[in-house]
Symmetry: C2
Subunit: 596 residues, 2 copies
């Protein structure tokens, strides 16, 4: 029970002090979340109240199921963009079908997350490498920012990718609305400034830390209030300033999301991508914050919590939610001690839904667009490209492909291209295991790579150390390597495979070893193994391999060499290490077996 | 030059003896190939002469580019089935569109293979694990055999998968043609018998080895001749026996395959699958045969040779070809010494095309069907299922999925399901690297797994040995493992990661190490590394990691322990190994970090 309901754990020791900490954190997060929830609904192409709805039920549900003490769940930028991109292909913005598809997306994504959690499939998130996620978030940030520019300019322009969007903006530049711009650009500047400078500014003026924090986090709310007041007071709607308009008042009612199988099959892949991207973001922020206080999260239970939250979002008429990075850090810094802080935030959002919505009528869309731009540009990290280039070219390729395809084609294509390329590159790398020809270090029982050490090799015996587990992606390479050595070394009588680092041998590699044994036998060469680990040996015993093996399995490599080349081994063992050391002769043909 | 034209290598030392060996092998292979080429054209749903055409130009081209001395290229069963399955979705059998699509398939597949060879992408074949290939071939064999049964019974019935086909056969059982059956079943029985028994039978009657071999390989030709004669002599076409009919006489003319982009995009994925399946079959048989004579093949050059052969097949009006398993073994056993044997086989096939085609008019299709069934049933290997089950459950799952999906849905879905499942299972496995908490073996400088050895650990220091390279699929697991240990061990001050088996650290793992460092620092724990390999260290130096590392990088793990826990290490070092050995205390929370 406590595994699936972590609330039973922390709830029992809930104290007055914890309550005060959680309430304060909830206050700050609520102030931050009100404009964000409206803005991300706008970004997802949905009516503003849907953003509010997605910020109530999911938070309460996460408080029951979540294992992170500080995660703040709700609408986030990247997932909102992904929702807009996939739902936009199925229906027109503003229609009931569009809203229904977004709600169905939350439900399906929630069910997928829940299923992955119950089946303990959290490892699927490992498919997304860091460079791919980083590239995807950077590209999404640029796409989102570009998509909000028309709101700042008071024009209509959109596109599925960056190029389309920029061209559409360029074409519409003739119809820029100067009043909207006059309102939007100072708002944008203020939000950028307040993001990093407002708190130091306030503290320099003698305001204490806590009020300064609350005030600086209130900057977006302040911008909302000020621009709404100006728009209402000066009657700017008459000058073409787009406003949010009527936002229905009251709490969300339980709704049944559309259960149309055709729709579900159309949104299945986007829902999976949204689930995985949202989950990866959640787990990385939650585990970062947990580690800071020496706490732990349970990644599989997080799948369940996030799944339940999304199902709750769908049933209360909301769209896909996940754990937001910036918001969770704010929650943590503000002192949230338990997931109850999220539930209190939900109460704050419910109050906003009940009492604030009439005040939002004159809120300019340009203000929300400015809020979004400031939030997402902090996600853009071009320096990561430089760092990745310096460190690893394959990772750089996956990252660059993700960015280019996301910007040039779209979010779904971008993330899929990144995942595929990184998998292919990963398989390419693992298809070339590290293997070394080894020789004996004079005066010792140690065997080392002949390319790096002064070692002695015995004629007629080839010792190959395999430094990785053997499985289908690398089985063929090992085979090629062995044949390369054998084909060019007619004096060869014995091959010894040294397995100190082989933790597993799968069925493909087993078959390869069997065929290597048979082919070497046909060529008059005996195959031996040495230093095979216990679990590997146990498994080999369940096959015919050991019966068919032409040679023996030696406990240590030195035993093998004593048996196969007793003279050379004994004299090398007796040799003075410094005096008689000579570089072992490299068998011909090794250069052909690249990678040795 | 010689890399791309291996003929320049072996051609220079071509002697009279080699010529005789090659000519003899070519004779035997030609006898075998005539009925096979007709039968596989039938299997692919193509006119019989297309099978002959595909057995001329590709063989000559392979002789120029191929690196295997014994590979016999031509139409093979599995690739013919795959061609039929994909082309059958685009056009009706017997139409010019169907033939055009099959030819385009050969061209596109050839271009893909050529491109992979030039780009040295042979490792792509590693995506296909042995259990998936084995399952696919078994299932294809069953599908092919079931598909030929209607020809034996003289009925019309087909389907895309085994269930469909069997149902269709069941429904058509009322219209079985008894004359066809009376002809087909004895032919089938004779072919089965001659496959294994004819050669011993002949040798027991005093016939020498070589003539006995040639005669036993001639059994299908004999069956073709006898059934053709009977059909003609008794006028069986009047009794409903289906015959091959008019086969155009003469050599294939160069043709331009259809270059329709819509068609090419429709056949792109099947062409890729055919390329990879054909390549895997080619490489495995070629390297098996090469190793028997201590020769080598060049897998990337084989891609080029196979690609050029398929392009040649397309231009001469043929369909996709590859290196056949059974045929290559026959070629090898018959003494083929160079790829020239293939060129001589091509001459034999050209002569057949010029002079034999009028004789094929009365050849019953049932005879060809019997030839196919005998050939493919030898590919069916159900015992592999049992062996794989005993050895490895994950491999068994991939194999069973391949068989079930191939039989139940079709060849393309089957192979894709197998590849996907084996990749997912592989990633799952590699996402859990082998790591061990280690302690000092008393009286030595050695450190071993605390779960398997009596070792001493120092309080406040946690030593973790990582037994695999670190990259994105397993980065998160390592992170979770470290946090699990730290969260439950408040006395901990130092974590030392021991990297003796880490051959690579990719950008994702680097980022994980960076965040582990930062989070441990926040928790008051210092992170150190020990025994980092040279190439890994070089790469780490290209990042900020070493600057941000809170601890040090130690050359040996013993150095690390001497620095971090000098008292414990010194006393353990001085201890008598047998006397004071005690089992190291297992840190709490390790059970939570499953897999340690």
């Amino acid at each position: 029970m406590r595994r699936y309901f972590p609330i039973l754990d922390w709830g029992r020791s809930y104290s007055r002090d914890t309550l005060i900490s959680d309430l304060l954190a909830a206050l700050i997060v609520t102030i931050m979340l009100i404009p964000q929830s409206l803005a991300y609904a706008l970004l997802a192409g949905l009516p503003p109240e849907i953003g509010l709805y997605a910020s109530i039920a999911p938070l309460v549900i996460y408080a029951v199921f979540g294992t992170s003490r500080a995660l703040a769940v709700g609408p986030v930028a990247v997932v909102s963009l992904m929702t807009a991109a996939s739902v936009g292909q199925l229906a027109q913005q503003g229609t009931a079908e569009y809203l229904g598809a977004a709600i169905a997306m939350a439900l399906l994504s929630g069910l997928m997350l829940l299923a992955m959690g119950v089946l303990r499939l959290g490892f699927i998130a490992n498919f997304l490498s860091h460079p791919v996620i980083s590239g995807f978030i950077t590209a999404s940030g640029l796409l989102i920012a570009a998509g909000q520019v028309p709101h700042l300019l008071g024009i209509r322009a959109d596109g599925h990718n960056l190029v389309d969007t920029l061209i559409a903006i360029g074409r519409a530049m003739g119809s820029v609305n100067p009043v909207t711009m006059a309102l939007a650009l100072p708002t944008l500047a203020f939000l950028f400034w307040s993001r990093s400078r407002l708190k130091p500014f306030l503290k320099a003026r003698g305001i204490r830390d806590l009020p300064a924090t609350i005030l600086s986090r209130s900057a977006p709310v302040l911008a909302v209030a000020a621009t709404t007041a100006v728009t209402w007071g000066l009657g700017l709607t008459g000058h073409g300033v787009a406003i949010v308009g009527d936002v229905p008042r009251g709490l969300p009612m339980p709704t049944l999301p559309p259960l149309d199988p055709v729709l579900w099959s159309q949104i299945a892949i986007p829902a999976l991508l949204i689930s995985i991207v949202g989950y990866v973001e959640t787990v990385s922020v939650a585990s970062t914050l947990a580690a800071k206080r020496r706490q732990r999260i349970d990644p599989d239970q997080e799948l369940i919590a996030l799944g339940a939250s999304n199902i709750g979002s769908a049933i209360s008429g909301g769209f896909p939610v996940t754990g937001g990075f910036a918001r969770s850090v704010v929650n943590f810094d503000a002192g949230a001690e338990t997931p109850a802080a999220g539930a209190y935030t939900a109460v704050g959002m419910a109050l906003a839904t009940l009492f604030l919505t009439p005040l939002l009528f004159f809120l300019p869309k340009a203000t929300l667009a400015a809020t979004i731009i400031v939030a997402v540009l902090s996600l853009v990290d071009f320096d990561a490209l430089r760092r990745t280039w310096a460190y690893d070219r394959a990772d750089f390729a996956a990252m660059a492909a993700t960015i280019l395809v996301t910007l040039g084609v779209g979010v779904e294509a971008g993330i899929m291209a990144g995942v595929l390329l990184s998998l292919v590159l990963h398989l390419y790398r693992t298809s070339r295991p590290h293997v070394a020809i080894v020789g004996q270090v004079p005066g010792t029982e140690h065997f080392r790579n002949i390319d790096r050490h002064d070692v002695v090799t015995a004629p007629g015996v080839l010792s190959i150390r395999v430094d990785e587990s053997l499985y289908f992606p690398n089985a063929r390479f090992l085979e090629d390597t062995i044949y390369a050595c054998v084909a060019t070394n007619p004096a060869l009588r014995h091959v010894v495979l040294m397995f100190p680092a082989v933790n597993a041998v799968d069925a493909s590699a087993l078959e390869t070893l069997e065929s290597v044994t048979a082919r070497l036998r046909d060529a008059g060469v005996t195959l031996h193994l040495s230093e095979v680990k216990g679990p590997v040996m146990d498994r080999l015993k369940r096959s015919h391999f050991l019966d068919d093996l032409t040679g023996q399995v030696f406990l240590t490599h030195c035993d093998a060499m004593r048996a196969l080349a007793p003279d050379v081994t004994a004299s090398t063992l007796a040799a003075d290490r410094r005096e008689t050391a000579r570089k072992g002769a490299k068998p011909r043909g090794l250069d052909a077996a690249a990678g040795l």
